[in-house]
Structures are given as C-alpha cells and as structure tokens.
C-alpha cells in the first residue's frame, strides 16, 4: 500500500464518528467604518507602514519622487513613475538583490488590517517585493474592502498562483521584543493613494 493510501485508510479507520455540520461564515460587515481609506491608513500606520498624503503642492507623485531621488536602482512596475531597472529584463530573482526601491500597484487593500494584496501579476517577479530595500505601493482608493471576509471573495485567490497580503514592512522583535523594521525583507513600505490610469500602457 502506498503511503497515501495508508494515511487515508488510517484516517478512515480513526476519524471521529460525530455530526459536525460545516458552519456558514457571515461577512461581519454590519458596522463598517465611515471612511475605508482613513481606517486603512490608521491600521497601516499601526503595522509600521507609511501612508503618503497628498502634498500641499497638489502634485500627487511628489512624495514618491522625493523618496527615490537619491536611490541608485529603482525598479518600477507601474506606468506612473519611471525606474532604471526593467523587470522584463530580469533573468533570475537574485538579479534583483541590488534594488533600492521597488514600485508596484496593489490589486486591492483591506481596511480592517491595513493590508495591500500583491499578486504575481502585480509583481511580475515575485521576489522584487522582498529583495528590494524599500517598497512603494500605489493603491486606488476605490480598491479597498472592509475586512478579510470580503477580501477572500476576490478573484485573485482563485486566478493567481501567488498572492500575498503585505501589512507594513518586514518586521521582527525576536530579540527581547525590540521592534526592528527590515528583518529580512523590505525596510519600509509606503502606500500612495492614486486612482488607476484609465489606460495602462505597460499592460
């Protein structure tokens, strides 16, 4: 007997003879926050992320330009900002190890937790979101769902091969509870609220 069949046979021989119907899971959305965007921002900040507010100048991309001004390598996967490392030319993930800033667009965000979802189609090369020193995420404010129950109804979890909620930067407090940003992955995560371009020339 194969191990597979052996394990399944052992389960059938041992499984508890109890009636346990599968419960219905409600969406728990009776009392949503007044503004999904400000709830998202609050929770993102609690988790160590940075929300890039619209500057007084009205130039919405100015905070991103300021962040990457001194960076050597910028890998942008969004049409709104130009970088100097083309993701299409990346042969293997380790080629991205020298990236200072990666700029990507989130599929959507979750107000409850301050998370943004980055999937394989958003990233092109998944590792860019972890090997870069810093990550900047563009988010359409129309793409925020209230909580994780709503999040898991999204198509990304059925269509993508990889999808990851990022909630703030890489963090650890494994030594005496001292909080460190940039344990192994990105040292910072910033979110810029900006609507999707009507026509996306790179896609």
């Amino acid at each position: 007997m194969s191990s597979r069949d052996g394990i399944l046979a052992s389960i059938r021989a041992n499984r508890p003879q109890v009636e346990r119907p599968l419960p219905h899971v409600p969406l728990f959305d009776d009392d949503p926050p007044v503004s999904l965007l400000s709830a998202f921002k609050d929770n993102l900040h609690r988790m160590g992320g940075v929300f890039l507010d619209l500057p007084a100048s009205g130039d919405i991309l100015a905070p991103v330009r300021a962040k990457i001004a001194d960076a050597k390598i910028v890998c942008s996967i969004v049409p709104e900002i130009a970088g100097n490392r083309d993701i299409a030319g990346v042969g293997a993930p380790p080629d991205l190890s020298d990236v200072d800033f990666a700029i990507v667009r989130a599929s959507f965000a979750v107000a409850e937790t301050g998370s943004v979802l980055l999937g394989d189609t958003d990233l092109r090369v998944n590792a860019v979101a972890y090997l870069a020193q810093h990550l900047i995420v563009l988010l359409d404010p129309a793409d925020i769902v209230v909580n994780l129950h709503h999040a898991y109804q999204r198509a990304e979890f059925r269509s993508g091969r990889y999808a990851c909620f990022h909630t703030g930067p890489s963090a650890t407090a494994d030594i005496e509870g001292v909080l460190i940003h940039g344990a192994q992955g990105v040292r910072s995560l910033s979110v810029l609220p900006i609507a999707r371009a009507a026509v996306n020339p790179t896609l």
Partner: protein, 512 residues
Amino acid sequence: MSTPPAMLHPELRAEVDPDAIIRDGRRLDHAEGTSRPLRVRSEPQPRGAKARGNRPIDQQEAAARFIAAPEHEKMHDERLWDLRQKRDREMHGIPEWEKLRSLASAIKEHTLAHLDEYLDQFEDKAKSNGIHVHWACDAAEHNRIVHGILRDHGAKSLIKSKSMLTEECGFRHYMASMGIEVVETDLGERIQQLDNEDPSHVVVPAVHKLRTDVAQVFSHTIGTDPGNSDVHYLAEAQRQATRPLILKADAGMTGANFVVAETGTFVVCTNEGNADLSANVPKLHIASIGIEKIIPRLEHLAVFVRLLSRSALGSPVTQYTSHFRGPRAGGEMHVVLVDNGRSERLGLEEFWTSLKCIRCGACMNTCPVYRRSGGLSYGATYSGPIGLIIDPTFNARKYSNLPFASSLNGSCSNVCPVKINIHEQIYAWRRVLVEKHEVPFAKKTAMKAAGVLLSQPAAYRAAIAAADRALAHLPRFVIYNGLNAWGKHREVPHSPKQTFHNWYHANRGAKR
C-alpha cells in the same frame, strides 16, 4: 492614550527607550514587539531539559534552573504576559471575537471528521494547479522524500522558514547527515540554529534568550562584536550574513499555517517576509505540511487569519500572509503532506480535538508554569499547555511527566482561538498515563491516596482539617522538601484557621 498595562515585574521597566518606533504619537508594538521598554542585566543563559534517551523528561529540574536565573525568568515572564495582554486588547477590538472562535472550532471539527475527503480534494486541486503532491507516513519518510527531491535537482543548499513540523521530524539533523546545508531565515529560529538549541516557543523561538545571549551566539558564529548587544546591530548583522545565503540557495522550504481544499492553496504567515524569500528566490519550493492544517474553503480562511496573529502576538495580522496556489513561471513546487501520528490521534476519543490547534502559542503565553519555566524545560518539540496534550502521543513514557506541569487553572482553554479544552485534556492525560503505568511512583502513590480521599467526603474533610492544623505547626523542612512539589520555588499559603466546610456549616448551614 490608554494607560499602559500592568507589569508583572515593574523593576524591569526602562524609563527611556531609544529603540521605540513612534508613529502618530503611538509606540508601535506590532509583530511580536513589546508594548513597553524593558531592561534586564546580563546573566548566563540557563539551558533546557536534559534528554536521557527514552527516560522521562524531568521538567521540574530544568524549570528550577530557569527560575534560578532571575533575569531570564523575569524577562520571559514579562514578555509573554505582554503578548497575552496585547492579545486581550485585540480581542476587545472585535465585537465578533467569540463568534469567530466558535466558527473556527466548528470548521476544524467538521474538517477533521471528514479529513480524508478534504485531503483528497486538496490533492486533486493542487495537482491540477501544477503542484507535485507527496505523502509521508512519518518523520523519516518526510525527510527521505525531501532529500530525494533535492537530490533529483542536484540541490546542496536549502533556505527555509520556520516550521514546527520540520522540528518534529528532526529535519535539520537529517539534512546535515546527508550533506545538505540548511539555513533558517527567521531571525529567532536562526539564533536557535546557530546556538544548536531547539526553539523554545512555537511563534517566538528565542524568547527565552536575552540580548546578551544573542550577542554571545552571534559573536562566535557570524562574527559580531561580543561586547555589542545592541538589538538593531545584532538584527542587521544577521540580515547581512543571511542575505548572500538566500541569494545562492538551490532550494527553498516553507511550512504552512493553513491549506485550502477547494483551491489547492497553502497559506504561510510570517512577520519577516522570510517565507516569501525562501519560496520566491530559488526555483524549487518545497512545503512540508501536517495533514491537520486543511480547511474546506477560502471563506473559512478569513476566520483563521483574523484569529491567528491576534491570538499569537496581539497584532491584527502578520506582516505577510502568503497564498501559494501553484508554481511560478519557470519554478517547481512540491507539497509533502505528513501524518506522523496525526491520523492515529484522530482516533483518541478524549484527545482528537487537539488536532484543531493552529500553533498560535496563546496557551503558552498565558500559562503561569510555561512563563516561569521556559519552553526548553519541557524537553519536547511542543512545550506549554498544548505540548502537554500532544507530546505524550509521540512518546508516552518520555513525556509522562509533562501533563503534571500545570495548575489546571484553565486559562489556556479560555484563550485558545479554536476552543480546545486544553486543561481538561491535561487532566485526562494524567489519568491515562497512570493507567498505562507511565507515571513515577511518588506521584502515583500520592494520586492514589488523593483518589481514595476524594471519593469519601467525610474522610476528605477530616484530612483537610488535619492537614491545615499540621501545616500551621509543622517545621519548614517538613513542608519544603523534595517530596512536596508544591513547596518548591514558592511559599505555601498560610493555612486557614477553619476549613471552608466548617465555616459554611457555622455561618450558612443553619439558615437553610
């Protein structure tokens, strides 16, 4: 701002905290970050229980050495109690908390009762997504399968994220014997690997170590300055030392927190993003998964993700919640489904619900015995209350003492996000182990005597009254000796002048 939570050891509080990260006027304490600054003095690290083959682990002996290291004990106690308080804060922030716990418990019980069907469904979906699915009856088969996959790819180095299942399998020892270099990428787990010590906690593996202990380990492994125990310096040095190993690794490995049958997805939760590095940098990704991790559908996943990090660390979610549904373009993905005693546990009428466990560690953080004795005192893969009810299924003789390392206060059951009746199972294990003759003579004799007394109310009352009188007058050496575990490391409470029964009889009994 709310008032800071009460401290167990106020003497540890530091007034200034150069390490604090403040945002919007709030001190950030996400991930496993502490909610207040703590300072302790350096002290040699107490080591864990001594393994002596198959002989019963002496948890008390190891716990006594941990308690004899007061800086470690206080820090450990305070840190874990802080996680428990942060968990309570999160719980109060979610009105549906108790509903989520009930749902989580019901979903897990349903799935376990139909485990074969859901595993079958997962395998089908995963295969159609392009994932190679393997099945391992036990630890040895798991290790052989993983080694076989590595061998087929000519892989010599493996980067991995933390997985309790691979600890269970003795995976790193096996791979070392086969000439494979394994690198743990979680900071706490890497510290433990470099120190050649097991993880002491399922979520925070190095929580029993002080920063000075870590400085020691790193100084003779990755070459840091032995006199520098600055946590930022140590964490950064580890990042710099590990990064090249990640970039050149031949293969990556993760565990899984949850497995979704309907989509063939497995889900990994980390704070460091190290699972995503392990899975997404090398071409080959292997995931080792216990068969009890499965849940039916994505809608159920929401319940568990909402509960996991809030219960574990008092953080709304982990920094990264990663969903793997298939290999990336040009990559290869393998899943090894591991039984290792789980299907047999399913048949234990009193204990099968322990398979609901999602390894959050909330029961450990709240347990007064665990907080004061350290996870390594249990001498087993799983420590704390959940360990007490899982470990004896692996080896009833070796772990026969563990179910006695509890005061049966029930706090573990009350914080469990999947509502396992942990303290009742601890009690049930005591009975089972006594029946199986796995319990040492002194403990068994005392329990037998207690059993006789407890079954005869009049004799019990007389004995309690006599014991109270005796305790009030006995010399110290009679109470605080090696035969009375309750007199170790604690003062026995003053005995009452009157038993409760006598008091009730005098004050309330007449009124009826």
